[in-house]
């Protein structure tokens, strides 16, 4: 695709999105005039301080909640309800404790009306990819947090989403587990078989954003507005402990601190 095409045909367009919540008849602005575009095969991170509205933005992009002002355009059409071509990985895993790992993963397919046999086949395939083979019959309580989040990934990837949304996916994990799982996500991203076309990750961890993404969008404190957008421009595989990542992390952190 030529540069011109990339510039003219974004997959996702966030246009002047603002969001207000009303609390005790008082309007609380969460997001203010947020605009950016995302193209095919981009891994984007949205970073910002706690409470800047970045998780709200992710929910607006998916169509879970409407913006107060502005719009989200997906492939030329305005997002007005939940977009079934997107799926989400949550910080808190959001698994059903009474369902097995396999049943949790299949759930996403059930909603799409896919037949039982097909569901099973696809779920097992994706579970194999993310390292959940032999855990089919396990219940969430039998799993470490790291494995729970793998189930979260499998459930999101099983529907073969065009856009994968991740809301602080590593924040509820201890540092060692997070380290391993970030590498895993990088491996999945470089494998075009499992990979969605676009990943949008929300995180408060600047270093993590730089390490994983092609482009980083930095939001201000609440009401969140875009204060910086930059291409990371480092070839993969990257070294999380390289001086260039340290320097960039420092620079961005001082911006939002």
């Amino acid at each position: 695709m030529s540069t011109k095409d990339r510039l003219t045909t974004p997959v996702l367009d966030v246009r002047d999105v603002s969001k207000e919540f009303v609390h005790q008849s008082k309007k609380i602005p969460i997001l203010r005039d947020v605009s950016f575009s995302i193209h095919e095969y981009e891994f984007i991170s949205i970073v910002g301080p706690t409470g800047c509205g970045k998780s709200t933005l992710l929910r607006i992009i998916m169509g879970l909640i409407p913006p107060t002002k502005g719009e989200v355009i997906y492939k030329g059409e305005r997002v007005q309800s939940v977009n079934s071509r997107m799926s989400m990985v949550f910080q808190s895993f959001a698994l059903f404790p009474w369902l097995t790992v396999l049943e949790n993963v299949e759930l996403g397919l059930e909603a799409q009306g896919i037949l039982k046999e097909q569901r099973n086949k696809r779920a097992l395939k994706i579970m194999q990819e993310v390292g959940l083979e032999d855990f089919e019959n396990a219940y969430p309580r039998e799993l470490s947090r790291g494995m729970k989040q793998r189930v979260g990934f499998a459930r999101a990837l099983v529907i073969d989403p065009e856009i994968l949304l991740m809301d602080e996916p590593f924040s509820a994990l201890d540092p060692l587990t997070a380290e391993g799982l970030r590498e895993e996500v990088m491996r999945l991203w470089s494998d075009k078989f499992t990979s969605p076309e676009i990943v949008i990750m929300v995180t408060h961890n600047v270093e993590e954003a730089i390490y994983l993404s092609d482009r980083v969008i930095v939001l201000s404190q609440r009401p969140g507005t875009v204060i910086l957008e930059f291409n990371v421009g480092m070839p993969r595989p990257r070294d999380r402990r390289s001086p260039s990542i340290y320097e960039l992390t420092d620079k961005i952190t001082s911006l939002i601190a």
């Binding site: 083979e133 540092p175 060692l176 391993g180 402990r241």
Partner: protein
């Protein structure tokens, strides 16, 4: 358990056998190996703790487990990735399971558990069966806890499947 390769202790005339198996989550060992790889395969343990803002006490169980299965070597405060560890890291998901399974079977206690199950005609046991086996065979105060680790690592090493609803621990 650090540095102990054998699961035998001769105590007077008694021989005490405990289970030398990893007693941390698999994801901790993976994380440790990935960090080690970033440090080009060799680094001071304290430096890893510092880098991850972890207390040494939180890191050492993962180090012990990785050493037990032969993926790292510990030498005067430095931790080093072994050839087996490097090969493991270079593999994809399935390859890692296979490598890990082979390493687990080198552990005498783990092998005994697998042999115990494989002697059964149906290649499966109940949780109770395995708890009894562990309780009788090994010097452990908490068989439930041990069983939990056996199942977790057995699953990761593509050796065991466990279905709690059917109460069945089965060889893969």
């Amino acid at each position: 358990m650090s540095g102990i390769k054998d699961n035998l202790l001769i105590y007077g005339k008694e021989t005490i056998v405990w289970m030398s198996i990893p007693r941390v989550h698999y994801s901790h060992v993976i994380g440790l190996l990935e960090v080690l790889d970033d440090f080009n395969g060799r680094v001071d343990i304290a430096k890893i703790a510092d880098d991850l803002s972890l207390e040494l006490d939180d890191l050492l169980p993962a180090v012990d487990a990785a050493e037990l299965i032969g993926f790292v070597r510990v030498e005067s405060g430095d931790i080093q990735l072994t050839d087996k560890g490097s090969i493991f890291l270079s593999e994809g998901t399935r390859g890692r399971k296979k490598q890990l399974g082979e390493r687990l079977l080198i552990l005498e206690s783990f092998k005994e558990v697998i042999e115990f199950i494989s002697q059964k005609e149906e290649k499966a046991v109940t949780k109770e069966d395995l708890l009894n086996f562990i309780g009788e065979r090994f010097y452990e105060s908490d068989s439930e806890e041990i069983l939990k680790w056996v199942i977790e690592w057995g699953r990761h090493g593509h050796l065991l499947k466990y279905d709690s609803k059917e109460d069945e621990i089965r060889l893969v």
